[in-house]
């Protein structure tokens, strides 16, 4: 057998072995055996020296050709095997992607906080700043200065918790505020003679038997605007804007005459019932309207008590419930859920 024939035999054998190598390990062994320093092709190359000078170029060229050929075959086979092995590995790493994720426990803002923030945001668009006043109030601020003297029939509108130890002089009697309106006097006395645009949020308290509809503690948001040319159409406009942003622009608003001792004229504002779209249902007492705010022009006595001359200044005030709109929106039927803090309730929002 000539050396060239032997060389071709090595080539054929190497290629045959290469096609049999099925793993990267087998491939690495093949490479060492064929192309390595002690490999069969290296040995073939060494034989050049023993050939006749005329045979050498032919043999040498052929050795190099085969080396390149085998190297290419090896690279191709290696890529092929890696691909197969990777596919097999990925197959074994398959998971059930519907299994629950590693738990991250989210926290929740209280529903009242969410409702208050929405109110703050809407009124901030209209330039109303948030102003806070105390929960434990003076009788004078909660009633007298708001044009509600002692024994006045209007006091019937608020069942009051009184603080012990202040039975004496009515000037110094303390109570839990029954509404956020005393803040009107506080902000006016603090800000005079500036014009005012504030909202006054806060906890209010009423001596009321606790039922699904009534709580002894609840939140209100009062609004107050005082200026030199403020009118009731401004009040209507402001609350209409609010309703459009809160309930949607397609929902109608209506203004009715009403009575509050600290506003004159007094009105109540309704929005089309969100449950029946104004068609009439049990919630809206078949009127198609839901009351959203009590409001009116600040009574001249109240302006005066706040330090503002009613002949020069005018203003409007309004009061919103905080829980009620959220109850209507989410179909919450029991107001006690708010401050009972059942997390199964709070975590729904």
């Amino acid at each position: 057998m000539s050396s060239l024939e032997a060389l071709e035999q090595v080539r054929e054998q190497a290629l045959a072995e290469l096609s049999r190598a099925a793993t990267t390990e087998a491939l690495a062994a093949w490479e060492k055996q064929v192309l390595g320093r002690q490999g069969s092709m290296t040995q073939q190359a060494r034989q050049v020296g023993q050939l006749s000078p005329e045979d050498r170029p032919v043999f040498g060229r052929r050795v190099n050709e085969i080396k390149v050929l085998l190297q290419e075959a090896y690279d191709a086979r290696l890529a092929q095997i890696r691909q197969i092995e990777l596919s097999a590995q990925l197959e074994t790493e398959k998971i059930d992607v519907t299994l629950p994720g590693r738990p991250v426990v989210p926290g929740h803002l209280h529903l009242t906080t969410q409702a208050l923030r929405q109110l703050y945001r809407i009124f901030a668009y209209m330039g109303f700043e948030v102003y806070e006043a105390p929960d434990v109030e003076l009788e004078a601020y909660n009633f007298d200065l708001l044009n509600i003297p002692e024994y006045h029939p209007a006091r019937d509108m608020w069942d009051t918790f009184w603080v012990r130890g202040s039975e004496g002089d009515s000037r110094d009697r303390r109570l839990l505020r029954t509404h956020t309106s005393p803040g009107q006097i506080r902000v006016m006395r603090e800000r005079y003679p500036e014009p005012i645009r504030v909202v006054l949020p806060g906890k209010c308290y009423r001596y009321e038997q606790i039922t699904v509809r009534a709580e002894h503690q609840f939140y209100q948001l009062e609004g107050l605007a005082v200026g030199k040319g403020i009118t009731i159409t401004d009040l209507i406009g402001t609350i209409t804007q609010f309703s459009h942003l809160y309930y949607g622009a397609d929902r109608g608003v209506r203004v009715r005459s009403s009575y509050f001792p600290f506003t004159e004229p007094s009105v109540e504002v309704d929005t089309e019932c969100i449950l029946c779209q104004g068609k009439g249902c049990a919630v809206c007492k078949y009127t198609g309207w839901l009351e959203i705010a009590g409001a009116g022009m600040v009574h001249p006595v109240v302006l005066q008590n706040g330090g503002y001359d009613p002949d020069v200044w005018s203003g409007f005030a309004f009061g919103f419930g905080v829980e009620r709109p959220a109850m209507q929106k989410y179909g919450v039927e029991d107001i006690r859920l708010f401050y009972g803090n059942d997390l199964r309730f709070l975590r729904q929002f």
Partner: protein, 848 residues
């Protein structure tokens, strides 16, 4: 207040106005209609089929051939021939054999739906053709119960003699009852007539005034000295007017159907004609009346003339009221007394002794006026609210007393056969001065924001019975006597606005410069804090500010001691319940009760609350507005239960529980978010509510924030919490947020080095008592500025370090802003750190 529409229609004609439209108009004008109750009409609880439930007349009555207690009534309903119906009505039974009758009745044909007169409660049944003891029956004459008018089922209903025959019953007895919810102290709106007056102004329709004209019809004259009674008002301030009318020879009996029906529809129970008439006139005109049995009105000792004296009670004076209760009065309460003693509480309730009864022959009718605030006080003090007291409490027009008395007298003549004494006793010391207001119509424009023409404003006021005269550009407006609530020009603006109708007002936005804008930093920071804590996985709670005083005791583990809380507590004088009688001075009880309530259903509670606490610091002062109560904002957190929810990759047979370090992790993250991590000091804390070994006190900038730790086991037990760690934090939020503001103001951006850090571990052996945080601080201090981190990763106690010692292992990072650190740098740094902790804390390098 309930008013049948048919009654209103007597004074102002509203027949052509659909009820829904009427309701809408009333609502807009401030006369809110709470509910509509239909009677007989479609939509009513029991609609009366107009074809099957009609009026008819009984012409004759015969004995039923086969039944002793039944009769056959021949009924004309304007059909082809009279219908014979079987009935057991006692009143018809008594008329057996009569053939000359014309009794008007309610008649129902088969197929009509009625209430079952013999069933308990209200059961609807459809009338069927049947045979009763052999006699065919396909129709019936109805009782009040069968029609849903009242519970009376014994006998049938008789209609008035002038009722037309053969017309739908709903046209005769059908009605719509309006239920009003009128806000405000408006006596003039507490009557049918008052509402009719408003409707007359709203619809520009004439008002029939005849109920007020009875005095003229009866020819009555008023005199301070009526022969039949001597009147005295001892306290004119509290009793501006007192009138007494005598009606003789009355017959006490049930009222006629129409009157009973009106009272019932207005929500009052008929009693007898005299009492019913006083109630009827009160409902109609708004003037409460009281009828005394004249025979029971006594003369003073030694005198002969019956005498009424209106005076304040003597403190402790007593009387039994109509409801049978013995009442005790104080010296502010006004009484009606006769010559011998009290016969009534003025404006509230009459006395039992002088009550009108079946044998009363002569009635002394009181129509008086009392000071509204005094009546309200009495009613509140005695906890006795009546139809009369609630009307007087809303201010009744003193001018109404005489017309109302005459109106009632007229009805007593008509319905009880009485004769009226032409002289009415009338003391009127408090006749109000006519009130006039100068009213510039421009004021309405200024406040309403629309221009309502001057003439239109005048028309509206006149329609409401105000007197309006021109006085230059302004009006001089005279206020009707029943509108004492109107005292200011602005009150007239309201009248103009509401009658004009707010539905016709445009909406505008305030057309003025904004006031100076201010941030509310306190609120912004509070809201940011909420977001951070929610982001850290806590749920926000808002608990009751009113708590159980017992909870203040329960948060101390020793029942003999109480926790020192700031100030004096704010306690309620009139709590709803003892458990809600104290304003909280700490958020702790609210958090613990929330945990308790939730652990019944959940295995993990991680919550926080931001809220005010309240305590008295001194006297209140209305002059300055100082309430004398401090209301700082506090922050509480509470973590208890399983650390992580059950998960399929982790064994869940013994889940790890939340403890102090979970809470501290939240706090560390919070302080980092508020940029306070560099300025915070931790120390062992002592707070009675907490586990003495697991309580930390935290300060920033040397101001104390408060404590956190695990709850004391005895406190935990006192709140019925399970035997597991309950980690709680109680901080002063104002201190925390002020510090955060300060930190934010001082904040400057830190170094970010492009050079790789060198990491190295360092284990130091220190005394058991040495807090880890001090070791860490010493390392950072000694290695400044090249040591960027020193993270504790292991705490070891045991033989290798010896008793009373512990080994703390820190992972250190060394990094320079401007170069790579060499081995030499690192060695030098390490030596410096070790030297510092050896010297400062008596530490030694572990293994050395």
């Amino acid at each position: 207040m309930k008013i049948p529409l048919s009654w209103l229609n007597e004074y102002v004609d509203l027949h052509d106005i659909p009820v829904d439209q009427l309701r809408q108009r009333l609502d807009l004008a401030g006369l809110e209609v709470d509910a509509l109750e239909l009677i007989g009409h479609p939509g009513a609880a029991l609609p009366w089929d107009p074809d099957r439930v009609i009026t008819a007349e009984v012409l004759a009555v015969r004995q039923h051939p086969n039944a002793d207690r039944l009769v056959l009534a021949e009924v004309n309903y304007v059909g082809e021939a009279p219908e014979v119906v079987v009935t057991g009505a006692p009143s018809l039974y008594d008329l057996r054999g009569r053939e000359d009758l014309h009794l008007k009745v309610a008649f129902a044909w088969e197929g009509a739906e009625l209430y079952d007169g013999h069933a308990e409660g209200w059961v609807k049944a459809r009338l069927k053709k049947t045979q009763i003891r052999g006699e065919p029956s396909r129709a019936m004459v109805c009782s009040e119960k069968e029609l849903g008018l009242s519970e009376a089922a014994e006998d049938i209903l008789y209609l008035s003699d002038d009722t037309p025959v053969g017309v739908p019953l709903v046209d005769v007895l059908g009605d719509t009852v309006l239920s009003f919810d009128i806000k405000g102290p408006f006596g003039h709106l507490q009557s049918v007539y008052g509402i009719a007056r408003e409707l007359s102004a709203l619809y520009h329709r004439p008002l029939k005034r005849n109920p007020l004209d009875a005095a003229e019809r009866l020819g009555l004259t008023a005199s301070t000295e009526a022969g039949f009674v001597h009147l005295e008002i001892a306290d004119p301030e509290l009793c501006p007017r007192y009138t007494a009318t005598l009606i003789r020879n009355i017959e006490v009996k049930p009222s006629p159907l129409w009157l009973q029906m009106r009272l019932r529809r207005a929500g009052m129970r008929p009693i007898n004609n005299i009492v019913d008439i006083t109630n009827y006139v009160m409902l109609e005109l708004g003037q409460p009346l009281h009828a005394f049995d004249y025979a029971e009105v006594r003369s003073p000792a030694g005198g002969t003339q019956p005498t009424i004296i209106v005076r304040r009670a003597h403190a402790g004076e007593q009387m039994k009221t109509l409801d049978g209760e013995l009442r005790t009065f104080d010296d502010q309460m006004l009484l009606i007394t006769d010559g011998q003693g009290p016969v009534g509480i003025a404006g509230v309730m009459g006395g039992e002794e002088s009550e009108v009864g079946a044998d009363t022959r002569d009635v002394l009718l009181e129509a008086a006026n009392f000071h509204f605030l005094n009546i309200r006080r009495t009613s509140q003090q005695l906890k006795l609210q009546t139809e009369a007291s609630s009307r007087f409490g809303k201010r009744v027009d003193p001018e109404l007393a005489l017309p109302a008395a005459a109106r009632a007298a007229e009805l007593m003549v008509e319905l009880a056969g009485g004769q009226v004494d032409r002289t009415v006793g009338d003391l009127y010391p408090g006749r109000p001065e006519p009130q006039a207001i100068v009213f510039d119509p421009a004021l309405a424009d200024r406040l309403l924001g629309i221009e309502i023409p001057r003439e239109e404003q005048g028309r509206i006021l006149r329609a409401l019975e105000f007197g309006v005269e021109d006085q230059g550009a302004a009006f001089r407006v005279t206020v009707p006597s029943y509108r004492r609530d109107v005292t200011l020009p602005v009150d007239l603006v309201e009248e103009v606005g509401r009658i004009h109708g707010y539905d016709r007002f445009p909406s505008t936005l305030i057309d003025e410069a904004l006031p100076p804008l201010r941030r509310n930093r306190a609120l912004e920071d509070e809201e940011h804090l909420r977001d951070v804590l929610v982001g850290l996985g806590l749920d926000e709670i808002i608990t009751y500010s009113l708590i159980d005083p017992g909870d203040e005791a329960r948060i101390h583990p020793d029942p003999a001691q109480t926790l020192a809380l700031p100030g004096d507590p704010v306690v309620l004088r009139n709590p709803l319940a003892p458990e809600r009688s104290l304003m909280r001075r700490t958020l702790l009880p609210g958090a613990l009760r929330t945990a308790w309530a939730n652990l019944r259903y959940l295995d993990r509670v991680a919550v926080f609350e931001v809220g005010r606490v309240h305590y008295r610091t001194g006297p209140a002062d209305a002059m300055t507005g100082d309430t004398g109560v401090a209301e700082p904002r506090h922050l509480s957190m509470l973590l208890t239960g399983v650390r992580t929810p059950v998960w399929w990759q982790e064994a869940s047979d013994r889940p790890a529980l939340l403890d102090y370090f979970d809470l501290k992790g939240v706090v560390d993250a919070l302080l980092l978010r508020l940029s306070l991590d560099d300025n915070v000091q931790w120390a062992r804390g002592a707070h009675p509510s907490f586990h003495p070994g697991r309580c930390a006190v935290v300060s920033v900038y040397d101001r104390e924030l408060g404590v956190l730790g695990e709850l004391h086991p005895l406190v935990r037990e006192a709140f019925d919490l399970p035997a597991q760690p309950v980690a709680v934090l109680l901080w002063d939020l104002d201190v925390l947020l002020d510090a955060a503001t300060e930190a934010d103001a001082a904040k400057k951006v830190g170094m970010i080095s492009p050079y790789a850090p060198v990491h190295e571990d360092l284990a130091l052996v220190v005394d058991e008592a040495t807090p880890a945080v001090e070791v860490q601080r010493a390392i950072l201090e000694a290695g400044r500025p090249l040591v960027t981190e020193a993270t504790l990763f292991d705490v070891y106690r045991g033989a290798q370090v010896g008793p009373g010692k512990k080994s703390l292992a820190f992972a250190l990072s060394y990094q320079a802003p401007n170069r790579s650190l060499s081995d030499r740098d690192v060695t030098k740094l390490r030596q410096r750190i070790v030297k510092a902790v050896e010297k400062g804390l008596g530490a030694r390098l572990r293994g050395s």
